[in-house]
């Protein structure tokens, strides 16, 4: 069987704010919170992807808040998926378009198929479907918009909720003073570590809009599955003043709580690496979800972050079991 010709769209890197595409594909008119990080992410992703795009929206804030009353703000085609199965639904859409292209029903560039999944829909209840899709090599961009909780259902803990965060399932109390005792999953490493067909994995935040949009475009230009892990601060869940949403993301990077990097052809590239990291308490103090923590908890968090920072200096090696050239 000859390799499938994806007929890629021409998505050039965006050099400046002034050259960002003017058209909005995520339109004003959605019920997301004022200052919502994931909503800003959606807008930037949609702008970067352009009009030849199909979004898959598993249940979560970016479903319910956007699509509350039998209407949506998506100017491009979009389909709701269950929180469990976005990776699978996206796989089916990709396969259908491949068949349509093979049979001549679909001409023109292959659509951008983008999953917009929350942390739960990506690496908790949605993990299996995401992994299946990554394994099978579908040309789909899977975006995990990470607001570090099941926010839509009223802020419950998810596998990316930080240690020490208060959520409605991890409330601090006499017996459990920290609130959340577990440390989060390492999302991009899960994708990178075990899926030979994955072409590109990157992390970014909504405070780095050009970085974000260019990573979206780079991912969409790859002939296989790609994954973006994007930090999207949530004023309602993290309990900070809603005007500070991008500032929280900046602080995450400045303290080492979050690192922006790309993994491409087995090589790691870190960006926005601080010359000197701020202490994690700088990040945690403005957020009400950490207000109950004692110095010993903050110290535990600092130790965790110190280990993460070491990785930045010493990129994680990946045993390349798959040869560099692989059929599409």
């Amino acid at each position: 069987m000859p390799a499938f010709d994806y007929n890629f769209q021409k998505l050039e890197p965006i050099r400046s704010f002034k050259s960002v595409p003017e058209d909005e594909q995520y339109l004003p008119g959605h019920r997301t919170c004022a200052g919502c990080g994931p909503a800003l992410n959606y807008r930037l992703v949609a702008k970067a992807a352009g009009k030849d795009t199909i979004f898959v929206g598993p249940t979560g804030c970016m479903y319910v808040a956007n699509a509350s009353y039998l209407c949506t703000p998506y100017a491009v085609s979009w389909i709701h998926a269950q929180i469990t199965n976005a990776g699978a639904v996206a796989s089916g859409i990709e396969a259908a378009f491949k068949m349509a292209a093979r049979k001549g029903r679909h001409t023109g560039p292959f659509p951008n198929i983008i999953v917009m999944g929350g942390d739960g829909g990506s690496v908790d209840i949605g993990l299996q479907a995401m992994s299946g899709m990554m394994y099978r090599g579908h040309k789909v961009l899977f975006i995990c918009y990470d607001n570090e909780s099941y926010a839509n259902t009223g802020i419950q803990t998810s596998p990316t909720t930080p240690y020490g965060a208060a959520t409605t399932f991890t409330p601090p109390g006499k017996e459990i003073p920290e609130g959340k005792t577990l440390f989060p999953k390492n999302v991009p490493q899960m994708v990178i570590g075990g899926h030979p067909a994955v072409k590109y994995v990157a992390t970014t935040t909504i405070a780095h809009p050009l970085d974000l949009m260019n990573k979206v475009r780079k991912a969409l230009s790859k002939p296989g599955p790609t994954f973006l892990h994007i930090l999207c601060p949530c004023p309602k869940g993290w309990l900070f003043d809603e005007k500070l949403t991008p500032d929280m993301a900046k602080l995450a990077v400045e303290t080492g709580m979050w690192s922006n990097y790309e993994w491409e052809d087995g090589v790691y590239k870190y960006t926005q690496v601080p010359k000197k990291y701020k202490p994690v308490s700088d990040y945690m103090k403005p957020q009400g979800r950490f207000a109950h923590l004692k110095p010993e908890h903050i110290a535990k968090m600092q130790a965790f972050v110190d280990e993460k920072i070491k990785q930045v200096q010493r990129p994680i090696p990946v045993a390349a079991a798959v040869p560099a050239k692989q059929s599409a």
């Binding site: 699509a67 009353y69 709701h80 699978a88 990709e94 396969a95 068949m99």
Partner: protein, 393 residues
């Protein structure tokens, strides 16, 4: 030339899917339906079938993958058995309510616990409230035929519903019988290409499935119920057209065997109907006015057709190869709807049920003798003694 050969129900299902030129197939192994996918895999690998063959990571994924494919405009196909069918439960309503006419081929298997490869209908019957079309074949030929008829019915714009095409595991899925495969020209005449109504498109963007308010929910449900009022006519048309083109005639809803003057009747679904027919013949020879009604569609349930077929019978024995613990009759799940279908008749039959074939066991001719004895006694005494009898126990 239409070819006749010996093939199992699983192979017949795969031949049906191939004839229908399905475009996206999602597989996952579970006995006994797996053979359907193994056949399709060979067809795709050899270039006999131009399709995307996707290895789902589980049954829930299978149904999700074909949902996405159908939403994007492809004729999609999947299948499962037993707990695989129930694992995918979450996705059935989104599929039916989203009006994606995929087909799921089910080779029945007893539900866990524990593992039991034998056939019971409970797996697919458990999904009957989710809004799919749901029907049973009793021979490999009927599996092939139902595969084509179900796509034709499900993709009709008056319907646009997903379909479960079911067959008893092992009895039908794995025992070969004579099957005639249609000519390409016959299939082309019978089954038009899939025409999605609002597919996910780049040129005509649409949103599939926005959240709704509670007051929008009732009309959504009502419109789905309205569709089911329209389905029987489409089933009748498709079945008649199938007979015209392929030469094989089916009663659209209920196969009626020696029912016209029957005093006792077996109401049954699936593989064991083949034994039931033989039993009816034997009983007739012995002077018993026996008959058989074989149900072909569970959804939509043919309420009036059953009242018509069985209304004159004095006692009906529902043979249940399924379980519904704690239900009204404390047995299986066909009896409730059958009794409901007969309830409004002036002179309604006595109805009881017999739990048979459970676990994948055979229902023996001697069992039919026993059942006929029970039904005859009911007619004589003019009363139903019990709602349910467990054969052999």
């Amino acid at each position: 030339m239409a070819k006749e050969s010996m093939m199992t129900g699983c192979r017949a299902a795969a031949e049906g899917a191939k004839a229908a030129e399905v475009e996206v197939i999602c597989s996952y192994p579970i006995r006994p339906y797996t053979a359907i996918m193994m056949e399709l895999a060979k067809m795709v690998a050899n270039g006999e079938l131009n399709a995307e063959f996707i290895h789902g990571e589980g049954e829930h994924a299978q149904v999700s993958v074909v949902l996405g494919a159908s939403a994007a405009g492809a004729r999609a196909y999947t299948g499962s058995s037993g707990v695989g069918v129930t694992y995918a439960m979450e996705v059935y309503s989104p599929m039916a309510g989203g009006r994606y006419p995929v087909q799921m081929s089910i080779a029945d298997r007893t539900l866990d616990p524990p593992g039991d490869f034998g056939s019971e209908h409970t797996d697919a019957m458990s999904t009957r409230d989710q809004g799919w079309l749901l029907g049973w074949a009793a021979t490999p030929q009927e599996v092939y035929d139902n595969t084509l008829m179900s796509y034709r019915i499900g993709e009709d714009h008056r319907v646009m519903l997903p379909q479960m095409v079911c067959q008893d595991g092992y009895f039908i899925s794995h025992i070969p019988d004579k099957v005639t495969i249609g000519e390409v020209s016959q299939v082309k005449e019978f089954l038009p290409p899939y025409r999605p109504i609002h597919p996910l498109s780049l040129t005509n963007p649409v949103s599939h499935g926005p959240q709704i308010r509670p007051d929008q929910g009732a009309p959504m449900d009502a419109m789905r119920a309205q569709t089911f009022l329209a389905v029987p006519k489409v089933i009748e048309e498709a079945t008649a057209d199938f007979a015209r083109i392929f030469g094989r005639k089916y009663d659209p809803f209920v196969e009626q065997y020696k029912l016209e003057d029957a005093e006792i009747a077996f109401f049954i679904m699936g593989a064991h109907s083949n034994t039931a027919r033989t039993a009816v013949d034997k009983l007739r020879k012995e002077g018993v006015k026996a008959g058989m009604a074989r149900l072909r569609w569970v959804r939509p349930w043919p309420t009036h057709q059953l009242a018509e077929a069985l209304g004159h019978v004095k006692a009906v024995g529902v043979i249940e190869t399924s379980t519904s613990y704690g239900s009204a009759m404390r047995g299986g799940n066909l009896i409730h709807e059958l009794r409901a279908s007969l309830y409004d008749l002036d002179d309604r039959p006595l109805v009881t049920s017999f739990m048979g074939g459970l676990g994948g066991e055979t229902i023996w001719p001697a069992d039919f003798d026993y059942m006929a004895g029970v039904l005859t006694k009911m007619v004589k005494e003019k009363r139903t003694d019990r709602y349910v009898y467990w054969l052999g126990m």
